[in-house]
Amino acid sequence: MAGYTAVTAEDLAIMLETIGVGSIEELFHDAIPAGVRLGRPMDLPAGEPEQAVYAELRRLAERNVSAEDEITFLGAGMYDHYVPSIVDMLMSRSEFLTPYTPYQPEVSQGGLQVMFEYQTAICELTGLPVSNASVYEGPSAVGAAAYMAKLANRRPRVLVSRGVHPHSRATLDTLAVGYGTEVVEIGLDDGVTDLDALREALSDDVGAVILQQPNFLGAIEDVQAFSDAAHEHGALVICAADPLTLGVLEAPGNQGADLVVGEGQSLGNRLDFGGPSFGFFAATEKYIRSMPGRIAGETTDVDGRRGFVLTLQTREQHIRREKATSNICTSQALNALGGVVYLSWLGRQGIVELGELMLQRTHYAREQLAALDGVAKLHDRPVVREFALRLDADVDAVLERCAADGVNAGFALGREYDEFGDGLLVAITELRSRADIDRLVEVLGAAVAAERSAPRAEVVR
């Protein structure tokens, strides 16, 4: 057994005497009715020393093929970026890692100021004046945004682009059942949201329209056109965005979006097989009192010193309970710290340079790949860091061949889009060099060629 308790035999004797009971069991037996006592040890493996637990977790890690083990072009919502060492260092400082939510601001100025700085950075990126201090992650941020829209205008319906991440749409569907919003999907037209279809579906019953920038197929959406259409009907515009593209892409807040939300992982957070990362949530001034989650605000102390507090708490569950704007409590403060440290590290010029590098490499990769036999662009729209292809071969089989060559060629779109059963989504980051891309071209080209010449085998389960 390993443990972190500290009760010695002497402690125990003194403590029991002080309490006035004869044994620890007594405390439990007095409190827990006999009918619901377990009465047997739990059936779990025996505890192990630290070295054994380390070995076990290493064993499991080695059963995974991580981005450290292959050249990966997998993206689709989370991206293999370089996490700078200072992010790890700061996130692992006890003073940031171990406190609770800053309920006592006098001894939480570090965390509170980090939130304030984070909010500032998110506002600047998104082009909106208000940000909260984080929500869970990207897809649930979309669901939370639609709920906020519901609270704001009580309209029964939201429209969501099919270019929005499938997980975001699925999450929205799930949550909307709860708060009673009807979700209507707007299809794609050649890689981007079908604006005509959107206009057609819009009405004064529509509380919000939701799009993603760049969209799931990597394409740049015309946010302004989207906003104009929606605003004509008084609908809120919710834009899910990839924050790391916002050094080169116009801020959605400057293109009419009322809410800009999204997945923050690309900002200095690990992949972690999907989490924890953070979601961001920014809005126009009007919605400041409808936001979910913690918000840090600047103020002064009794002596006039600058300080920070959790503010506008009357929105929140612990004050307003059933009337709260959200039920969120614990969110992702530490991950958001990682985000703002990353953005500070990247800096004003760096975020543009990084965006430009991704843009150029993505263009290069797209053109090189599309020139392969049996490979074509799925759409021709401008992209930033990810793009979709069509393969004239079984995508899964091609991916399997590439994997055998140490290359993860991307995401099989058929996993989420029936209409793109032949689709492959390829993501580029600053970690994928031209040499990596050339390798992908070589490996994918060979795999497609092999699949096209191979007699199509029966699919065996």
């Binding site: 006592r37 380390y54 080695e62 003073e95 500032t120 989490g275 039920n327 991950n335």
Partner: protein, 507 residues
């Protein structure tokens, strides 16, 4: 003796400056990799191209490091001192967990990796599901929810799906007065009406009131047990049978599971759904407000509706006589599922830490956790009763589980200091205060949860500090009323902050 300014500490003298106020135009930490492909102009249509770079900080790496290291020193943290925040289970965060979570095979693992190449992650998640099921006494687990409140939302949505599947339309969810704010907030978000159940004189659910309110329009009872008063409800069996009797589901807010592991299980009490706070009971560091994870365990009748995907184990195939190892898969094919609550498979990094914790402690160790957490709470309670029992009486009963609630009402009346003042004054003693003004049912409440990882010496020191503050207030209440004095900033103007919110820096 003369100092820089004898009335202020060094930290107090430093005006807080943000990272945006540091650095200088042109400074930087990041250097981009060289552009290694032929550059092409105009790849982004002009209307979509950002005109000016976002005004992010411009600072060198040393400046950034120093800024955040110094900021960190303006936080109180668990690795530096006692943090008896009730309902939050501020127990020691083992660094082993950070080490294993950082292994590249976990940390740099893409969530959409082909499951055949993610067997380690899936095996871990499956193993964790099994362990949590055993701890909860409920057979099925979804790891997906991101925190306790997210688990609650999952639970109420599951309830909705369950009733809908049976063709029933129920409208109400019952929850007692002592419930955490997330409970009623969740109910609203999930489209139900909150109905409050009263407490009886001992701090438990008022069974008569429950019986009165439990009709067939009730979808669910949400209960925290032990409650936020630190009381294991003695009528738990009756409560369960009343709720079952009307066909509603029973939701167990597991924030307080730290008190009962190995002693009692929500499933055995008749509950259908329980959430775990892996960031409370299972040592995920709180990170100053997350991340966490809020897995749920459910009964058979709820299982069909669990979020997708679920991690499943395919029976090991027998391959020419030699059994192959079991294969783990992500099962997305769940026709009755409520769907997804978030992207991907949940906060895997938190699962790694929890898995490591459960493997470190085992059944015996987890039971020891509960034993010592209850022992420590009762010891601290006894010490406080002995010292300040008249001014800060226990709100209900005689003993407690892993936490307890004192009322500051007599102190307020007799000494003229409020619970808030006591809390602030504790900061000067180097302790983090308990949770204050919660649960709402106790006047001037102090909710104290020492956790199992604290020593007796620390508990004694805390009791002494409380006693000293109470004694001091008897002499001069102004001292506490104006506390704290030694913190980086003193009492802050929260009302002003809310009135004219400044939630970002003007750049």
């Amino acid at each position: 003796m003369s100092t820089l300014d004898s009335s202020q500490t060094k930290q107090q003298l430093e005006r807080a400056t943000t990272i945006f106020e540091k650095g200088a135009p042109g400074r930087r930490a990041f250097r981009a990799p060289d552009l290694d492909v032929p550059p092409v102009e105009g790849l982004i249509p002009p209307a979509s191209r950002r005109a000016a770079p976002p005004r992010l900080p411009e600072a060198s790496e040393p400046e950034i490091v120093r800024h955040y290291v110094n900021l960190s020193k303006r936080n109180f943290d668990l690795d530096s001192g006692f943090y008896p925040l009730g309902s939050c289970t501020m127990k020691h965060n083992p660094r082993l967990h950070e080490r294993v979570a950082a292994l590249p095979g976990h940390a740099r693992m893409h969530p959409l990796q082909d499951p055949r190449r993610a067997q380690g992650a899936l095996e871990l998640m499956y193993g964790l599901q099994e362990s949590l099921a055993e701890i909860a006494g409920l057979p099925h687990v979804s790891l997906q929810p991101s925190a306790g409140s997210h688990g609650e939302l999952a639970g109420v949505l599951l309830t909705r799906a369950y009733h809908a599947d049976r063709g029933e339309q129920r409208t109400k969810v019952l929850t007692p007065d002592s419930a955490h704010g997330t409970n009623p907030a969740t109910v609203t978000m999930a489209g139900y009406e909150v109905v409050k159940v009263a407490l009886d004189g001992a701090g438990g659910v008022d069974v008569d009131d429950l019986r009165a309110k439990a009709g067939t329009d009730v979808a669910c009872l949400m209960l925290t047990n032990p409650s936020t008063l630190g009381i294991f409800d003695p009528n738990i069996e009756e409560i369960a049978s009343i709720v079952h009797g009307v066909g509603a589901t029973l939701y167990y807010d597991g924030a307080n599971l730290n008190a009962i592991m190995g002693y009692s299980r929500p499933g055995d009490m008749g509950f259908d759904i329980v959430h775990f706070n892996l960031h409370k009971t299972f040592t995920q560091p709180h990170g100053g407000g997350g991340p966490g994870a809020g897995p749920i365990a459910v009964s058979d009748r709820i299982e069909p509706f669990l979020p997708r995907p679920q991690v499943v184990r395919r029976a090991p195939a027998v391959n020419g006589g030699r059994p192959t190892p079991p294969v783990f898969e992500l099962d997305d094919d769940r026709p009755k599922s409520i769907g997804k609550l978030r992207g991907f498979q949940g906060n895997y990094g938190v699962f790694v830490r929890t898995y490591a914790y459960i493997r470190s402690l085992g059944a015996e160790g987890l039971q020891d956790v509960s034993e010592v957490s209850v022992l420590n709470a009762n010891y601290l309670l006894a010490r406080l009763r002995e010292k300040v029992g008249d001014r800060l009486p226990l709100a209900f009963g005689e003993r407690c589980m892993h936490e307890f609630v004192l009322s500051g009402a007599p102190m307020k009346k007799e000494l003229g200091i409020r619970t808030l003042d006591l809390a602030k004054r504790l900061l000067d003693h180097g302790f983090h205060p308990p949770t204050v003004y919660f649960p709402l049912v106790v006047e001037e409440a102090l909710l104290i949860e020492p956790t199992e990882t604290e020593t007796r010496e620390t508990l004694d020191g805390f009791a002494d500090a409380i006693a000293a503050i109470v004694a001091e207030a008897a002499e001069d209440p102004e001292i506490a009323r104006n506390a704290p004095y030694t913190t980086p900033v003193r009492r802050l103007d929260e009302a002003g902050a809310a009135k004219r919110p400044r939630v970002r820096q003007t750049l």
